[in-house]
Each structure stands twice: as structure tokens, then as C-alpha cells.
């Protein structure tokens, strides 16, 4: 009954990496889009919009990601929607990522000297142009390093999607372990694979930080 941990098992683990990567990619694109909106809202001149965005950030930073995934997954079921685990995980991670990236990028936008806003306003540039041509290009420089840092966090966070039944790397590890009963070996391999995914990103983030100077918060 008990299977050996063979190259077939290893291959199964490695092939599950694509689901980890897919979920990471979807959540990053979603989180980045949402994060940009949250950052704009947080730096808006309208107090109610700032407050709404601040509340959003507080909620998602103040509760465990796992609970957020549960709420999306079981909440959808509760509402009678048949949601598959990938979609639930993607939505949960997107909402969470929007809060974290929104807060990181708010800091980057606010790190741009007030004079840049004033000069572009005085020239008659509209909000959209001011953001796109003046503020964001400068903010992007200080944003890349922490953003790549967040991406590392995100890749690791996708492991929580295993708990709502999405078969990514961690879930694949559980499946292999259930068949082989070699938990230390199996999860050791899983951890190494995560490390191989994340380490280059961490290095890159550190490199970018040195290149652009440290983030002013």
C-alpha cells in the first residue's frame, strides 16, 4: 500500500509548481491593479475616499489571510455560488494583495516631494497626467524593491490555498505524503522548491534596493 518516494512523486511535485506560479501570477496582477486603486484612494484629496481605503487596508492587514480565503470560499458557497478553489484563492489573494500593495505604494507616492505636485498643478496639468507623467515614474523607482519583496511573500502565501483544496505545490506535497508517509522528506523537498522559487526574487529585490536606494517611508 505504501508507495515509495520515487522520481514520479518528485515529478508530480515539480509539475504542481505551475499551479503555484499561476495562482501567484493571477493574484499579483489582480493585487497590483487593486493596489494601484487603493494607493490612489489613500492619497486622494477626498477625506471619505481616504477613509474608505484606510478601512479596507486595516481589515485585510488585521485578519489572517487564511480567514480571508475561507470567507471567500465558504462565503461564495453560502451565497449559492459554485466557486472552484483556484478562483476562490485568486480572489482572496487579490483582495489581500491590493491592501498590502496599496499601502506600500501609498508610501512611495507620498515620498515624492510636495513641490512636484505643486509645480505640476500650477502648470495646469490634470490629476491623471500629474500621476502618470510626474508622480508615478518617480514613485516607481522606490516602489520596485518592496514590490518584488511582496511578490516573494505572495508566492509563499499561495500555500494557504492548499487548505481550501487547491492542488498547488503544498497540496501536492500533502497528497504525496499521504501515499508515502515520508513527511520529513516530502515537505523538505517542497520547502526546497519554494526556496528555489523565492530566493532569486529576494536577491533581485535586495539588488534593486541597493540600486535605487532604500525606501523612504
Amino acid at each position: 500500500m505504501i508507495r515509495q518516494f520515487t522520481s514520479a512523486e518528485l515529478l508530480f511535485l515539480i509539475s504542481s509548481v505551475r499551479w503555484t506560479l499561476l495562482l501567484s501570477a493571477i493574484a499579483f496582477v489582480g493585487g497590483a491593479t487593486g493596489g494601484l486603486l487603493v494607493a490612489f484612494a489613500r492619497t486622494s484629496t477626498w477625506p471619505w475616499l481616504r477613509a474608505t481605503a484606510a478601512g479596507y487596508i486595516q481589515i485585510f492587514q488585521g485578519t489572517p489571510l487564511l480567514m480571508q480565503l475561507f470567507l471567500v470560499f465558504f462565503g461564495a458557497t453560502f451565497l449559492g455560488l459554485n466557486i472552484d478553489p483556484l478562483a476562490a484563492a485568486a480572489i482572496g489573494l487579490t483582495l489581500n494583495g491590493a491592501a498590502f500593495l496599496g499601502e506600500i505604494w501609498r508610501g512611495c507616492i507620498q515620498a515624492i516631494p510636495k513641490g512636484q505636485w505643486e509645480a505640476s498643478t500650477a502648470l495646469g496639468l490634470h490629476y491623471f497626467t500629474r500621476m502618470k507623467d510626474i508622480i508615478l515614474p518617480q514613485a516607481a523607482k522606490i516602489a520596485v524593491a518592496p514590490t518584488v519583496g511582496f511578490l516573494v511573500l505572495l508566492v509563499k502565501s499561495t500555500s494557504l490555498a492548499s487548505i481550501i483544496g487547491f492542488v498547488e505545490l503544498t497540496r501536492a506535497g500533502q497528497i504525496v505524503n499521504n501515499a508515502t508517509f515520508r513527511p520529513f522528506l516530502v515537505f523538505g523537498v517542497v520547502a526546497v522548491i519554494y526556496f528555489i522559487l523565492c530566493w532569486p526574487l529576494s536577491l533581485y529585490s535586495r539588488h534593486l534596493e541597493k540600486k535605487f536606494g532604500t525606501v523612504s517611508r
Partner: protein, 275 residues
């Protein structure tokens, strides 16, 4: 729209005076009104920053505003292009009321150029791009056209050869001249200067003041917050002294400096002229 950019002049030709020294032209106070401030009040929270400010500036007039730190000089000129919003009273720029709708604000800001103490050039754009951005985005000019205008103004402030450098590669005086050119590229009807030479090393003050003087000679309507009293004497039609959010005294430079009426003005002038 584009015709506004054709000429070097600013709709005002009397300034072509050949005599550089005698800038103080015949009184312009009867000309068309460019800026009208009536009973303007401005609060920052509970702090009363402008108290019943009344000021009328006619076409081609050169105003210098001075006063101690915190007296509201910056606040006053920043209310004109709505970088700050006043709470009561009325501000009109070239017949358009400031502060009623965002449509009006765009109109006003496009007509009013502003130069800051700290230059505020866009560091990620070249000098030329700094100058062409607003004409392209706000006036809708084609890139070529905007560049031609920008080069003309960069020549005017005597740094055309720096067009493709980044602001960080220029000296303070050069940066401030770029900032002036950038504002001029919008063909503003009014120029506001907020202590444009205060952040400069002494040897660079003159090049910026010369640029401003030449602008004045071309008939630009300008309000300059500055403590350069030599510039005030030579260029201003009117000097205004502010203290504690109020306009305390104003007058032609000859009278203002020779016979200041209020005690506060005398004290202030005593401090800045004798050090």
C-alpha cells in the same frame, strides 16, 4: 489656441523700452485688471493666514511683496492660482473667478505661471521635456511645436545648450531659469514668483534676477515675493509689505523705501536693509 504661442510678446508691447535702467514705466494702474482680490480671508485650520486682503493688479504691473517670515506672502500668491483655497472673499484672474469650479481652476492655472523657491523641476525629465509637458498636455500642442516654443524660451533664459540635460546636472541658477522657461512655455498672462532666489548661492542670484528683469521689460504682469530690495527698487511698480496676514502698506518703490508710513514697515526695512 495656437496663435497664443506665436509671438514672443505677451500681448503687451509697451515694455520694448530700449532703456534698461528706466523700467519703472508710466503708471499702469489704470490698465485692464488682471488680478482682483477682494476681502480675501484664508485660514489653515484655526490659524488666520490672510486677513481681509484687497489687491488689484493691472496688466503689465510688476508687484513686489515683502514681509517677515510667516506673514502670508506665499499664501497670498498661492491663493491666486488656487494651490491654496481661500475661505471667503473673491479672487478673479483675468475676469475668471478662482475657486468656484474645477473648470475655472484649469483655466486660471493655464494662464498663471509660477516659479518656486525650490525650483520644483521634474527630475526624471530632461530640461526640454520639463518645458514641453504642459504645453502638450494642457494646450494640446504637437511635440514639434512644443519643442520649438521650449527652445525659444530656453534661449530667452540663455540656456538652450542644456536642453537635453536632466535638472540634477544643472546649477541652482540654471535650474531656476529652466523653471522660469517652463512656466513661460504656457504663454501665461501672469507670472508669480515665490522667493525665486532665496535657495540660490549668492553668485547665482543675479542671473535669475536679470531674467526676471528682462521679463518685466517685456511687459509681463508679475507678482514677486522677494527680499531682493534692489530688484524691487529697479523693477517694481508697487511694493507691498505684509505682516501677520495683512497688507500693511503699499506704494511705489521710491515712496515705499524713502518714507515708509507704518512703524512695522520701518522695522522690517531696517532689518533687511542693514545686514
Amino acid at each position: 489656441m495656437n496663435t497664443a504661442h506665436e509671438g514672443q510678446g505677451h500681448g503687451h508691447s509697451e515694455g520694448q523700452s530700449p532703456n534698461l535702467g528706466a523700467v519703472a514705466a508710466p503708471s499702469k494702474q489704470s490698465g485692464p485688471v488682471m488680478i482682483r482680490m477682494e476681502a480675501v480671508e484664508k485660514h489653515y485650520g484655526t490659524y488666520h493666514a490672510l486677513k481681509n486682503v484687497n489687491l488689484t493688479v493691472s496688466l503689465g504691473e510688476r508687484i513686489v511683496i515683502c514681509g517677515p517670515s510667516g506673514s502670508g506672502k506665499s499664501t497670498l500668491i498661492r491663493c491666486i492660482n488656487a494651490l491654496e483655497h481661500h475661505q471667503s472673499g473673491r479672487i478673479e484672474v483675468d475676469g475668471v473667478e478662482v475657486g468656484t469650479s474645477s473648470k475655472n481652476l484649469d483655466k486660471v492655472r493655464a494662464e498663471v505661471g509660477m516659479v518656486f523657491q525650490s525650483f520644483n523641476l521634474f527630475p526624471h525629465l530632461t530640461v526640454l521635456q520639463n518645458c514641453t509637458l504642459a504645453p502638450r498636455k494642457v494646450r494640446g500642442l504637437a511635440p514639434k511645436e512644443a519643442e520649438a516654443i521650449a527652445m525659444r524660451y530656453l534661449e530667452r533664459v540663455r540656456i538652450p545648450e542644456q536642453a537635453n540635460k536632466y535638472p540634477g546636472q544643472l546649477s541652482g541658477g540654471q535650474q531656476q531659469r529652466v523653471a522660469i522657461a517652463r512656466a513661460l512655455c504656457m504663454s501665461p498672462k501672469i507670472m508669480l514668483f515665490d522667493e525665486p532666489t532665496s535657495a540660490l548661492d549668492p553668485e547665482m542670484v543675479k542671473e535669475v534676477l536679470d531674467t526676471m528683469t528682462s521679463l518685466a521689460q517685456d511687459g509681463m504682469t508679475m507678482i514677486c515675493v522677494t527680499h531682493e530690495m534692489g530688484f524691487a527698487r529697479q523693477v517694481a511698480d508697487r511694493v507691498i509689505f505684509m505682516d501677520k496676514g495683512e497688507i500693511v502698506e503699499e506704494g511705489a518703490p521710491e515712496d515705499f523705501f524713502a518714507h515708509p508710513k507704518s512703524e512695522r514697515t520701518r522695522t522690517f526695512l531696517g532689518q533687511i536693509l542693514h545686514h
